[in-house]
Point group: C2
Chain length 306, copies 2
Protein backbone atom coordinates (compact mmCIF):
# COMPACT_ATOMS: atom_id res chain seq x y z
CA UNK A 1 0.00 0.00 0.00
CA UNK A 2 1.43 3.38 -1.04
CA UNK A 3 -1.43 5.64 -0.04
CA UNK A 4 -4.37 5.57 2.33
CA UNK A 5 -7.43 7.77 2.62
CA UNK A 6 -9.09 7.86 6.02
CA UNK A 7 -11.96 9.37 8.00
CA UNK A 8 -10.72 10.87 11.29
CA UNK A 9 -13.57 10.98 13.77
CA UNK A 10 -14.53 13.98 15.85
CA UNK A 11 -14.72 13.10 19.54
CA UNK A 12 -16.41 14.22 22.73
CA UNK A 13 -14.16 14.25 25.79
CA UNK A 14 -15.06 14.42 29.48
CA UNK A 15 -18.74 13.44 29.12
CA UNK A 16 -20.19 15.03 32.28
CA UNK A 17 -18.98 13.00 35.28
CA UNK A 18 -16.01 11.66 33.29
CA UNK A 19 -13.79 14.74 33.43
CA UNK A 20 -10.31 13.95 32.10
CA UNK A 21 -11.04 10.20 31.80
CA UNK A 22 -13.95 9.53 29.40
CA UNK A 23 -14.35 10.12 25.68
CA UNK A 24 -16.39 8.90 22.73
CA UNK A 25 -16.09 8.97 18.95
CA UNK A 26 -18.63 10.38 16.48
CA UNK A 27 -19.65 8.57 13.35
CA UNK A 28 -20.34 11.17 10.70
CA UNK A 29 -18.40 14.19 11.88
CA UNK A 30 -14.71 14.25 11.18
CA UNK A 31 -11.81 15.17 8.93
CA UNK A 32 -10.47 13.31 5.95
CA UNK A 33 -6.82 12.68 5.44
CA UNK A 34 -4.63 11.17 2.74
CA UNK A 35 -1.31 9.72 3.85
CA UNK A 36 1.18 8.74 1.15
CA UNK A 37 4.54 7.01 1.16
CA UNK A 38 7.22 9.12 -0.56
CA UNK A 39 10.91 8.46 -1.25
CA UNK A 40 12.05 11.44 0.82
CA UNK A 41 12.44 10.67 4.53
CA UNK A 42 10.49 12.58 7.16
CA UNK A 43 6.97 14.01 7.16
CA UNK A 44 5.60 16.71 4.89
CA UNK A 45 2.18 18.29 5.24
CA UNK A 46 1.44 19.07 1.62
CA UNK A 47 -2.07 20.44 1.84
CA UNK A 48 -4.61 21.60 4.42
CA UNK A 49 -8.07 22.35 3.07
CA UNK A 50 -10.85 23.92 5.13
CA UNK A 51 -8.85 25.62 7.85
CA UNK A 52 -5.92 27.96 8.10
CA UNK A 53 -3.40 25.81 9.98
CA UNK A 54 0.42 25.68 9.81
CA UNK A 55 1.95 23.42 7.15
CA UNK A 56 5.33 23.25 8.91
CA UNK A 57 5.65 19.70 10.28
CA UNK A 58 6.87 20.81 13.73
CA UNK A 59 4.06 23.31 14.11
CA UNK A 60 1.28 21.00 12.96
CA UNK A 61 -0.26 18.50 15.38
CA UNK A 62 -0.45 15.80 12.68
CA UNK A 63 3.21 16.41 11.85
CA UNK A 64 4.32 16.22 15.47
CA UNK A 65 2.34 13.03 16.12
CA UNK A 66 3.73 11.48 12.93
CA UNK A 67 7.31 12.30 13.95
CA UNK A 68 6.72 10.76 17.40
CA UNK A 69 5.77 7.49 15.70
CA UNK A 70 8.64 7.63 13.20
CA UNK A 71 11.14 8.14 16.04
CA UNK A 72 10.34 4.52 17.02
CA UNK A 73 10.82 2.86 13.62
CA UNK A 74 13.54 2.87 10.99
CA UNK A 75 12.32 3.62 7.48
CA UNK A 76 14.24 4.59 4.35
CA UNK A 77 11.27 6.52 3.03
CA UNK A 78 8.93 9.23 4.29
CA UNK A 79 5.32 10.39 4.26
CA UNK A 80 3.19 13.12 2.78
CA UNK A 81 -0.04 14.13 4.46
CA UNK A 82 -3.04 15.96 3.00
CA UNK A 83 -5.63 17.13 5.52
CA UNK A 84 -9.23 17.99 4.68
CA UNK A 85 -10.50 19.68 7.85
CA UNK A 86 -14.19 19.54 8.58
CA UNK A 87 -13.79 19.94 12.34
CA UNK A 88 -13.20 23.51 13.36
CA UNK A 89 -10.28 24.02 15.72
CA UNK A 90 -11.48 25.28 19.11
CA UNK A 91 -14.92 23.74 18.75
CA UNK A 92 -14.46 21.25 21.60
CA UNK A 93 -14.97 18.12 19.52
CA UNK A 94 -11.38 17.05 19.13
CA UNK A 95 -10.09 18.86 16.06
CA UNK A 96 -6.42 18.46 16.98
CA UNK A 97 -7.01 14.86 18.11
CA UNK A 98 -8.54 13.92 14.75
CA UNK A 99 -5.45 15.21 12.93
CA UNK A 100 -2.97 13.69 15.39
CA UNK A 101 -4.74 10.33 15.50
CA UNK A 102 -5.27 10.28 11.74
CA UNK A 103 -1.60 10.90 10.95
CA UNK A 104 -0.31 8.07 13.15
CA UNK A 105 -3.08 5.71 12.06
CA UNK A 106 -2.36 6.33 8.37
CA UNK A 107 1.40 5.93 8.72
CA UNK A 108 1.00 2.77 10.82
CA UNK A 109 -1.20 1.23 8.10
CA UNK A 110 1.33 2.08 5.38
CA UNK A 111 4.07 0.52 7.51
CA UNK A 112 2.11 -2.75 7.78
CA UNK A 113 0.81 -2.12 11.31
CA UNK A 114 3.88 -2.45 13.50
CA UNK A 115 1.80 -0.84 16.28
CA UNK A 116 -1.63 -1.62 17.73
CA UNK A 117 -4.21 1.16 17.84
CA UNK A 118 -3.61 1.23 21.60
CA UNK A 119 0.11 1.83 20.97
CA UNK A 120 -0.70 4.72 18.65
CA UNK A 121 -2.37 6.67 21.45
CA UNK A 122 0.94 7.74 22.97
CA UNK A 123 2.20 9.09 19.64
CA UNK A 124 -1.04 10.96 18.94
CA UNK A 125 -0.84 12.48 22.43
CA UNK A 126 2.26 14.38 21.29
CA UNK A 127 0.04 16.26 18.85
CA UNK A 128 -2.25 17.13 21.76
CA UNK A 129 0.73 18.45 23.68
CA UNK A 130 1.45 20.84 20.82
CA UNK A 131 -2.19 21.92 20.64
CA UNK A 132 -2.93 22.52 24.31
CA UNK A 133 0.29 22.13 26.26
CA UNK A 134 -0.98 18.88 27.81
CA UNK A 135 -0.39 15.45 26.24
CA UNK A 136 -3.85 14.19 27.16
CA UNK A 137 -5.52 11.11 25.71
CA UNK A 138 -9.20 12.02 26.24
CA UNK A 139 -9.81 12.68 22.53
CA UNK A 140 -7.12 10.69 20.75
CA UNK A 141 -8.15 7.51 22.59
CA UNK A 142 -11.74 7.43 21.26
CA UNK A 143 -10.52 8.69 17.85
CA UNK A 144 -8.19 5.68 17.57
CA UNK A 145 -10.20 2.99 19.38
CA UNK A 146 -13.77 4.07 18.69
CA UNK A 147 -16.73 3.84 21.06
CA UNK A 148 -16.45 5.02 24.63
CA UNK A 149 -12.96 5.05 26.09
CA UNK A 150 -11.72 5.39 29.64
CA UNK A 151 -8.27 6.74 30.46
CA UNK A 152 -7.91 4.83 33.72
CA UNK A 153 -4.41 6.12 34.30
CA UNK A 154 -2.06 8.48 32.49
CA UNK A 155 1.23 7.35 34.09
CA UNK A 156 1.51 4.56 33.13
CA UNK A 157 -0.97 5.08 30.32
CA UNK A 158 -3.88 2.65 30.66
CA UNK A 159 -6.73 3.18 28.22
CA UNK A 160 -9.80 0.93 28.04
CA UNK A 161 -12.48 0.61 25.42
CA UNK A 162 -15.89 0.47 27.08
CA UNK A 163 -18.93 -1.30 25.61
CA UNK A 164 -21.21 1.07 23.68
CA UNK A 165 -24.96 0.41 23.47
CA UNK A 166 -26.14 0.19 19.88
CA UNK A 167 -28.88 2.82 20.07
CA UNK A 168 -26.82 5.54 21.67
CA UNK A 169 -26.68 8.78 19.68
CA UNK A 170 -24.99 12.10 20.29
CA UNK A 171 -26.27 15.53 19.37
CA UNK A 172 -23.66 18.29 19.41
CA UNK A 173 -24.20 22.01 19.00
CA UNK A 174 -21.23 24.26 18.41
CA UNK A 175 -21.97 27.91 19.16
CA UNK A 176 -19.65 30.07 17.08
CA UNK A 177 -17.76 31.59 19.98
CA UNK A 178 -14.22 30.96 21.14
CA UNK A 179 -13.33 29.23 24.43
CA UNK A 180 -9.61 28.53 24.75
CA UNK A 181 -8.76 25.18 26.33
CA UNK A 182 -6.12 26.96 28.41
CA UNK A 183 -8.71 29.43 29.76
CA UNK A 184 -11.14 26.59 30.45
CA UNK A 185 -8.39 24.85 32.44
CA UNK A 186 -7.37 27.94 34.36
CA UNK A 187 -10.76 28.64 35.88
CA UNK A 188 -10.99 25.19 37.45
CA UNK A 189 -10.40 24.93 41.18
CA UNK A 190 -7.39 22.86 42.18
CA UNK A 191 -9.26 21.10 44.96
CA UNK A 192 -12.79 19.77 45.37
CA UNK A 193 -14.90 18.87 48.40
CA UNK A 194 -14.60 15.16 49.19
CA UNK A 195 -18.40 14.88 49.30
CA UNK A 196 -18.67 16.25 45.76
CA UNK A 197 -15.89 13.99 44.51
CA UNK A 198 -17.79 10.99 45.93
CA UNK A 199 -20.93 12.02 44.03
CA UNK A 200 -18.84 12.31 40.89
CA UNK A 201 -17.27 8.86 41.20
CA UNK A 202 -20.65 7.34 42.03
CA UNK A 203 -21.82 8.70 38.70
CA UNK A 204 -18.77 7.43 36.83
CA UNK A 205 -19.51 3.99 38.23
CA UNK A 206 -23.16 4.36 37.21
CA UNK A 207 -22.31 5.53 33.70
CA UNK A 208 -19.83 2.70 33.04
CA UNK A 209 -22.32 0.21 34.46
CA UNK A 210 -25.09 1.67 32.28
CA UNK A 211 -22.93 1.36 29.18
CA UNK A 212 -22.18 -2.34 29.82
CA UNK A 213 -25.77 -3.21 30.72
CA UNK A 214 -27.24 -0.99 27.97
CA UNK A 215 -29.41 0.66 30.61
CA UNK A 216 -30.22 3.98 28.93
CA UNK A 217 -32.08 5.32 31.93
CA UNK A 218 -29.07 4.65 34.16
CA UNK A 219 -26.80 6.32 31.60
CA UNK A 220 -29.07 9.36 31.81
CA UNK A 221 -29.15 9.43 35.62
CA UNK A 222 -25.36 9.21 35.70
CA UNK A 223 -24.73 12.08 33.27
CA UNK A 224 -24.18 14.63 36.03
CA UNK A 225 -21.09 16.71 36.62
CA UNK A 226 -20.88 18.44 39.98
CA UNK A 227 -17.31 19.60 39.61
CA UNK A 228 -16.37 21.02 36.23
CA UNK A 229 -19.63 21.90 34.51
CA UNK A 230 -20.81 24.38 37.16
CA UNK A 231 -17.61 26.38 36.59
CA UNK A 232 -16.94 26.00 32.88
CA UNK A 233 -20.53 26.44 31.81
CA UNK A 234 -20.32 30.16 32.64
CA UNK A 235 -18.06 30.50 29.59
CA UNK A 236 -20.77 29.12 27.28
CA UNK A 237 -23.74 31.38 26.50
CA UNK A 238 -27.15 29.88 27.31
CA UNK A 239 -25.57 26.61 28.44
CA UNK A 240 -28.23 25.89 31.05
CA UNK A 241 -31.08 26.54 28.60
CA UNK A 242 -29.52 24.28 25.97
CA UNK A 243 -29.07 21.53 28.55
CA UNK A 244 -32.54 21.86 30.04
CA UNK A 245 -34.28 22.00 26.66
CA UNK A 246 -32.28 19.00 25.42
CA UNK A 247 -33.40 16.89 28.34
CA UNK A 248 -36.98 18.16 28.06
CA UNK A 249 -37.02 17.10 24.43
CA UNK A 250 -35.85 13.57 25.20
CA UNK A 251 -32.10 13.55 25.79
CA UNK A 252 -30.76 11.17 28.44
CA UNK A 253 -28.42 13.91 29.59
CA UNK A 254 -26.27 16.76 28.31
CA UNK A 255 -23.02 18.48 29.15
CA UNK A 256 -19.99 20.34 27.87
CA UNK A 257 -18.08 18.68 25.04
CA UNK A 258 -14.40 18.71 25.93
CA UNK A 259 -13.61 22.14 27.28
CA UNK A 260 -16.40 23.67 25.21
CA UNK A 261 -17.92 25.68 23.72
CA UNK A 262 -19.74 22.75 22.07
CA UNK A 263 -22.53 21.19 24.09
CA UNK A 264 -23.40 17.52 23.65
CA UNK A 265 -26.45 15.49 24.54
CA UNK A 266 -26.82 11.71 24.47
CA UNK A 267 -30.10 10.09 23.41
CA UNK A 268 -31.54 6.66 22.86
CA UNK A 269 -32.24 6.37 19.14
CA UNK A 270 -31.79 8.73 16.22
CA UNK A 271 -35.30 10.16 16.46
CA UNK A 272 -34.68 11.48 19.95
CA UNK A 273 -31.27 12.80 18.90
CA UNK A 274 -32.96 14.74 16.07
CA UNK A 275 -35.58 16.21 18.40
CA UNK A 276 -32.78 17.31 20.70
CA UNK A 277 -31.04 19.04 17.79
CA UNK A 278 -34.20 21.06 17.10
CA UNK A 279 -34.48 22.04 20.77
CA UNK A 280 -30.82 23.09 20.90
CA UNK A 281 -31.12 25.18 17.73
CA UNK A 282 -34.19 26.97 19.06
CA UNK A 283 -32.26 28.19 22.09
CA UNK A 284 -29.42 29.69 20.03
CA UNK A 285 -31.84 31.07 17.44
CA UNK A 286 -33.50 33.03 20.25
CA UNK A 287 -30.19 34.22 21.69
CA UNK A 288 -28.97 35.08 18.19
CA UNK A 289 -25.77 33.04 18.21
CA UNK A 290 -24.67 31.22 15.04
CA UNK A 291 -24.05 27.48 15.43
CA UNK A 292 -23.30 24.13 13.78
CA UNK A 293 -25.27 21.07 14.81
CA UNK A 294 -24.26 17.43 14.42
CA UNK A 295 -26.33 14.33 15.02
CA UNK A 296 -24.33 11.12 15.13
CA UNK A 297 -24.47 7.52 16.20
CA UNK A 298 -21.58 6.64 18.47
CA UNK A 299 -18.78 5.41 16.22
CA UNK A 300 -17.50 2.12 17.61
CA UNK A 301 -14.69 1.75 15.05
CA UNK A 302 -12.80 5.01 15.37
CA UNK A 303 -10.78 5.98 12.33
CA UNK A 304 -12.08 4.38 9.13
CA UNK A 305 -10.48 3.66 5.77
CA UNK A 306 -12.27 5.40 2.89
CA UNK B 1 -44.60 -19.08 56.93
CA UNK B 2 -44.38 -18.31 60.65
CA UNK B 3 -40.60 -18.39 61.08
CA UNK B 4 -37.52 -17.97 58.94
CA UNK B 5 -33.87 -18.74 59.59
CA UNK B 6 -31.38 -16.80 57.51
CA UNK B 7 -27.68 -16.26 56.87
CA UNK B 8 -26.78 -12.55 57.00
CA UNK B 9 -23.63 -11.94 55.00
CA UNK B 10 -20.64 -9.97 56.16
CA UNK B 11 -19.69 -7.26 53.67
CA UNK B 12 -16.71 -5.22 52.55
CA UNK B 13 -17.46 -1.56 51.93
CA UNK B 14 -15.43 1.07 50.06
CA UNK B 15 -13.14 -1.37 48.18
CA UNK B 16 -10.13 0.88 47.55
CA UNK B 17 -11.10 3.45 44.92
CA UNK B 18 -14.80 3.01 45.73
CA UNK B 19 -14.94 5.03 48.94
CA UNK B 20 -18.54 5.53 50.06
CA UNK B 21 -19.98 3.96 46.90
CA UNK B 22 -18.82 0.34 46.46
CA UNK B 23 -19.45 -2.77 48.52
CA UNK B 24 -19.46 -6.55 48.19
CA UNK B 25 -20.93 -9.49 50.10
CA UNK B 26 -19.03 -12.46 51.55
CA UNK B 27 -20.22 -16.01 51.14
CA UNK B 28 -19.22 -17.90 54.28
CA UNK B 29 -18.80 -15.16 56.85
CA UNK B 30 -21.92 -13.82 58.50
CA UNK B 31 -24.49 -13.95 61.26
CA UNK B 32 -27.50 -16.19 61.54
CA UNK B 33 -30.89 -14.89 62.50
CA UNK B 34 -34.30 -16.35 63.26
CA UNK B 35 -37.30 -14.10 62.66
CA UNK B 36 -40.66 -15.28 63.95
CA UNK B 37 -44.23 -14.00 63.66
CA UNK B 38 -45.82 -13.49 67.09
CA UNK B 39 -49.31 -12.33 68.12
CA UNK B 40 -48.00 -9.30 69.99
CA UNK B 41 -47.44 -6.25 67.76
CA UNK B 42 -44.04 -4.62 67.46
CA UNK B 43 -40.53 -6.07 67.43
CA UNK B 44 -38.81 -7.94 70.24
CA UNK B 45 -35.17 -9.02 70.22
CA UNK B 46 -35.40 -12.18 72.30
CA UNK B 47 -31.85 -13.43 72.13
CA UNK B 48 -28.39 -12.34 71.02
CA UNK B 49 -25.74 -15.03 71.11
CA UNK B 50 -22.05 -14.38 70.51
CA UNK B 51 -21.83 -10.68 71.32
CA UNK B 52 -22.87 -8.39 74.12
CA UNK B 53 -25.32 -6.09 72.34
CA UNK B 54 -28.46 -4.29 73.57
CA UNK B 55 -31.71 -6.27 73.47
CA UNK B 56 -33.88 -3.14 73.63
CA UNK B 57 -35.51 -2.74 70.22
CA UNK B 58 -34.74 0.98 69.94
CA UNK B 59 -31.11 0.49 70.88
CA UNK B 60 -30.50 -2.46 68.58
CA UNK B 61 -29.74 -1.91 64.87
CA UNK B 62 -31.88 -4.90 63.85
CA UNK B 63 -34.74 -3.53 65.95
CA UNK B 64 -34.50 -0.05 64.51
CA UNK B 65 -34.36 -1.34 60.93
CA UNK B 66 -37.33 -3.64 61.60
CA UNK B 67 -39.38 -0.75 63.01
CA UNK B 68 -38.54 1.37 59.96
CA UNK B 69 -40.04 -1.34 57.75
CA UNK B 70 -43.08 -1.86 59.98
CA UNK B 71 -43.85 1.87 59.91
CA UNK B 72 -44.74 1.35 56.24
CA UNK B 73 -47.12 -1.60 56.60
CA UNK B 74 -50.15 -2.35 58.73
CA UNK B 75 -50.00 -5.68 60.58
CA UNK B 76 -52.05 -7.01 63.47
CA UNK B 77 -49.15 -9.12 64.66
CA UNK B 78 -45.51 -8.62 65.50
CA UNK B 79 -42.06 -10.20 65.25
CA UNK B 80 -39.45 -11.82 67.46
CA UNK B 81 -35.82 -11.85 66.42
CA UNK B 82 -32.99 -14.12 67.58
CA UNK B 83 -29.51 -13.08 66.51
CA UNK B 84 -26.50 -15.42 66.40
CA UNK B 85 -23.58 -13.03 65.89
CA UNK B 86 -20.48 -14.36 64.19
CA UNK B 87 -19.34 -10.98 62.92
CA UNK B 88 -17.63 -8.93 65.59
CA UNK B 89 -18.89 -5.36 65.89
CA UNK B 90 -16.15 -2.89 64.96
CA UNK B 91 -14.35 -5.34 62.70
CA UNK B 92 -15.02 -3.38 59.51
CA UNK B 93 -16.93 -6.14 57.71
CA UNK B 94 -20.45 -4.89 58.21
CA UNK B 95 -21.56 -6.30 61.57
CA UNK B 96 -24.36 -3.76 62.04
CA UNK B 97 -25.35 -4.04 58.38
CA UNK B 98 -25.76 -7.83 58.65
CA UNK B 99 -28.16 -7.41 61.59
CA UNK B 100 -30.07 -4.50 60.02
CA UNK B 101 -30.36 -6.16 56.64
CA UNK B 102 -31.23 -9.54 58.14
CA UNK B 103 -34.07 -8.13 60.25
CA UNK B 104 -35.80 -6.39 57.34
CA UNK B 105 -35.19 -9.30 54.98
CA UNK B 106 -36.68 -11.79 57.43
CA UNK B 107 -39.74 -9.68 58.20
CA UNK B 108 -40.33 -8.97 54.52
CA UNK B 109 -40.30 -12.71 53.77
CA UNK B 110 -42.79 -13.42 56.58
CA UNK B 111 -45.03 -10.66 55.24
CA UNK B 112 -45.07 -12.27 51.78
CA UNK B 113 -42.52 -9.88 50.24
CA UNK B 114 -44.39 -6.59 49.97
CA UNK B 115 -41.00 -4.98 49.30
CA UNK B 116 -38.20 -5.75 46.84
CA UNK B 117 -34.69 -6.28 48.20
CA UNK B 118 -33.88 -2.88 46.72
CA UNK B 119 -36.71 -1.34 48.75
CA UNK B 120 -35.38 -2.92 51.93
CA UNK B 121 -32.11 -0.99 51.67
CA UNK B 122 -33.67 2.24 52.96
CA UNK B 123 -35.08 0.48 56.04
CA UNK B 124 -31.81 -1.27 56.81
CA UNK B 125 -30.01 2.07 56.50
CA UNK B 126 -31.86 3.20 59.63
CA UNK B 127 -29.97 0.53 61.55
CA UNK B 128 -26.73 1.95 60.15
CA UNK B 129 -27.77 5.40 61.33
CA UNK B 130 -28.07 4.04 64.87
CA UNK B 131 -24.69 2.27 64.62
CA UNK B 132 -22.57 5.07 63.17
CA UNK B 133 -24.68 8.21 63.03
CA UNK B 134 -24.82 8.02 59.23
CA UNK B 135 -27.58 6.17 57.34
CA UNK B 136 -25.17 4.85 54.71
CA UNK B 137 -25.92 2.02 52.29
CA UNK B 138 -22.36 0.79 51.57
CA UNK B 139 -22.78 -2.40 53.60
CA UNK B 140 -26.55 -3.00 53.70
CA UNK B 141 -26.72 -2.81 49.89
CA UNK B 142 -24.38 -5.76 49.24
CA UNK B 143 -25.84 -7.61 52.26
CA UNK B 144 -29.31 -7.40 50.68
CA UNK B 145 -28.51 -7.61 46.96
CA UNK B 146 -25.36 -9.74 46.98
CA UNK B 147 -22.34 -9.39 44.71
CA UNK B 148 -20.77 -6.00 44.13
CA UNK B 149 -23.02 -3.00 44.63
CA UNK B 150 -22.63 0.64 43.70
CA UNK B 151 -24.39 3.40 45.58
CA UNK B 152 -24.56 5.80 42.63
CA UNK B 153 -26.48 8.38 44.60
CA UNK B 154 -27.74 8.69 48.16
CA UNK B 155 -30.36 11.40 47.60
CA UNK B 156 -32.35 10.07 45.87
CA UNK B 157 -31.05 6.61 46.75
CA UNK B 158 -29.88 4.79 43.62
CA UNK B 159 -28.17 1.45 44.22
CA UNK B 160 -26.97 -0.83 41.41
CA UNK B 161 -25.90 -4.43 41.46
CA UNK B 162 -22.72 -4.86 39.44
CA UNK B 163 -21.72 -8.05 37.64
CA UNK B 164 -19.35 -10.20 39.71
CA UNK B 165 -16.79 -12.48 38.01
CA UNK B 166 -17.17 -16.08 39.08
CA UNK B 167 -13.61 -16.67 40.21
CA UNK B 168 -13.30 -13.62 42.41
CA UNK B 169 -12.41 -14.36 46.04
CA UNK B 170 -11.85 -12.17 49.05
CA UNK B 171 -9.39 -12.72 51.87
CA UNK B 172 -10.01 -10.64 54.98
CA UNK B 173 -7.81 -10.32 58.04
CA UNK B 174 -9.20 -8.71 61.17
CA UNK B 175 -6.51 -7.58 63.56
CA UNK B 176 -7.93 -7.55 67.07
CA UNK B 177 -7.67 -3.82 67.64
CA UNK B 178 -10.40 -1.21 67.77
CA UNK B 179 -10.90 1.51 65.14
CA UNK B 180 -14.09 3.49 65.65
CA UNK B 181 -15.96 4.39 62.47
CA UNK B 182 -16.45 7.89 63.85
CA UNK B 183 -12.67 8.31 64.39
CA UNK B 184 -11.96 6.90 60.93
CA UNK B 185 -14.37 9.51 59.51
CA UNK B 186 -12.96 12.41 61.50
CA UNK B 187 -9.40 12.08 60.24
CA UNK B 188 -10.46 12.38 56.60
CA UNK B 189 -9.81 15.69 54.86
CA UNK B 190 -12.90 17.54 53.71
CA UNK B 191 -11.39 18.43 50.36
CA UNK B 192 -9.16 16.62 47.90
CA UNK B 193 -6.92 17.81 45.07
CA UNK B 194 -8.79 17.68 41.75
CA UNK B 195 -5.88 15.75 40.18
CA UNK B 196 -6.15 13.06 42.85
CA UNK B 197 -9.93 12.87 42.51
CA UNK B 198 -9.49 12.31 38.75
CA UNK B 199 -7.12 9.39 39.42
CA UNK B 200 -9.68 7.96 41.81
CA UNK B 201 -12.58 8.14 39.37
CA UNK B 202 -10.40 6.73 36.59
CA UNK B 203 -9.90 3.73 38.85
CA UNK B 204 -13.59 3.42 39.71
CA UNK B 205 -14.30 3.36 35.99
CA UNK B 206 -11.58 0.74 35.53
CA UNK B 207 -12.83 -1.43 38.38
CA UNK B 208 -16.46 -1.41 37.19
CA UNK B 209 -15.28 -2.14 33.66
CA UNK B 210 -13.07 -4.98 34.93
CA UNK B 211 -16.00 -6.52 36.84
CA UNK B 212 -18.26 -6.52 33.76
CA UNK B 213 -15.58 -7.83 31.43
CA UNK B 214 -14.20 -10.30 34.03
CA UNK B 215 -10.75 -8.83 33.43
CA UNK B 216 -8.97 -9.79 36.65
CA UNK B 217 -5.80 -7.94 35.74
CA UNK B 218 -7.77 -4.72 35.17
CA UNK B 219 -9.57 -5.24 38.49
CA UNK B 220 -6.16 -5.47 40.13
CA UNK B 221 -4.78 -2.37 38.39
CA UNK B 222 -7.86 -0.42 39.46
CA UNK B 223 -7.73 -1.36 43.15
CA UNK B 224 -5.92 1.83 44.15
CA UNK B 225 -7.10 4.42 46.62
CA UNK B 226 -5.24 7.71 46.57
CA UNK B 227 -7.59 9.53 48.90
CA UNK B 228 -8.74 7.60 51.95
CA UNK B 229 -6.29 4.73 52.36
CA UNK B 230 -3.19 6.93 52.77
CA UNK B 231 -4.90 8.60 55.75
CA UNK B 232 -6.85 5.80 57.39
CA UNK B 233 -4.14 3.18 57.04
CA UNK B 234 -2.13 4.93 59.76
CA UNK B 235 -4.78 3.66 62.22
CA UNK B 236 -4.11 0.04 61.21
CA UNK B 237 -0.87 -1.56 62.42
CA UNK B 238 1.33 -3.03 59.67
CA UNK B 239 -1.22 -2.12 56.99
CA UNK B 240 1.40 -1.52 54.32
CA UNK B 241 3.15 -4.83 55.01
CA UNK B 242 -0.11 -6.76 54.89
CA UNK B 243 -1.01 -5.08 51.60
CA UNK B 244 2.40 -5.57 50.02
CA UNK B 245 2.72 -9.19 51.11
CA UNK B 246 -0.82 -9.95 49.89
CA UNK B 247 -0.04 -8.65 46.43
CA UNK B 248 3.35 -10.40 46.38
CA UNK B 249 1.61 -13.69 47.17
CA UNK B 250 -0.86 -13.33 44.31
CA UNK B 251 -3.64 -10.92 45.31
CA UNK B 252 -5.02 -8.66 42.58
CA UNK B 253 -5.08 -5.82 45.09
CA UNK B 254 -5.75 -5.06 48.74
CA UNK B 255 -7.13 -2.27 50.88
CA UNK B 256 -9.02 -1.30 54.01
CA UNK B 257 -12.34 -3.08 54.58
CA UNK B 258 -14.93 -0.44 55.45
CA UNK B 259 -13.33 1.95 57.89
CA UNK B 260 -11.04 -0.80 59.17
CA UNK B 261 -9.32 -2.31 60.99
CA UNK B 262 -9.93 -5.34 58.73
CA UNK B 263 -7.85 -5.49 55.59
CA UNK B 264 -9.19 -7.20 52.48
CA UNK B 265 -7.53 -8.58 49.38
CA UNK B 266 -9.18 -9.76 46.18
CA UNK B 267 -7.79 -12.72 44.25
CA UNK B 268 -8.59 -14.77 41.18
CA UNK B 269 -9.43 -18.27 42.42
CA UNK B 270 -9.57 -19.85 45.87
CA UNK B 271 -5.97 -21.08 45.75
CA UNK B 272 -4.62 -17.56 45.43
CA UNK B 273 -6.99 -16.35 48.16
CA UNK B 274 -5.60 -19.05 50.49
CA UNK B 275 -2.01 -18.10 49.71
CA UNK B 276 -2.89 -14.49 50.50
CA UNK B 277 -4.33 -15.58 53.86
CA UNK B 278 -1.03 -17.25 54.76
CA UNK B 279 0.92 -14.13 53.79
CA UNK B 280 -1.38 -11.88 55.83
CA UNK B 281 -1.16 -14.11 58.90
CA UNK B 282 2.64 -14.14 58.72
CA UNK B 283 2.75 -10.36 58.98
CA UNK B 284 0.59 -10.22 62.11
CA UNK B 285 2.34 -13.24 63.62
CA UNK B 286 5.59 -11.27 63.37
CA UNK B 287 4.07 -8.11 64.80
CA UNK B 288 2.38 -10.14 67.53
CA UNK B 289 -1.18 -8.99 66.92
CA UNK B 290 -4.07 -11.49 67.27
CA UNK B 291 -6.33 -11.81 64.24
CA UNK B 292 -9.20 -13.62 62.51
CA UNK B 293 -8.88 -14.55 58.85
CA UNK B 294 -11.67 -15.26 56.39
CA UNK B 295 -11.41 -16.61 52.85
CA UNK B 296 -14.60 -16.30 50.84
CA UNK B 297 -15.98 -16.42 47.36
CA UNK B 298 -17.96 -13.29 46.54
CA UNK B 299 -21.55 -14.01 47.53
CA UNK B 300 -23.78 -13.04 44.61
CA UNK B 301 -27.04 -13.79 46.43
CA UNK B 302 -26.75 -11.74 49.60
CA UNK B 303 -28.88 -12.96 52.49
CA UNK B 304 -29.75 -16.66 52.21
CA UNK B 305 -32.51 -18.77 53.71
CA UNK B 306 -31.18 -21.60 55.87
Amino acid sequence: MEEIKIFCAATIANISCGFDVLGLALDNVGDEMIVRKVPQKGVTITKIIGQNLPLETHKNVAGVAALALLSKVDTDFGFEIEIYKNIKPGSGIGSSAASSAGAVYGINELLGRPFSNHDLIEFAMQGERLASGVAHADNVAPALLGGFTLVRSTAPLDVLKIHTPNELYATVIHPQIEVKTSDAREILRSSVPLKTAIKQWGNIGGLISGLYTEDYDLIGRSLEDYIVEPIRSILIPAFNSVKTESIKSGALGAGISGSGPSIFALSEGSKNASKVAIAMKKVYDKVGIAYDVHISKINTEGIKKL
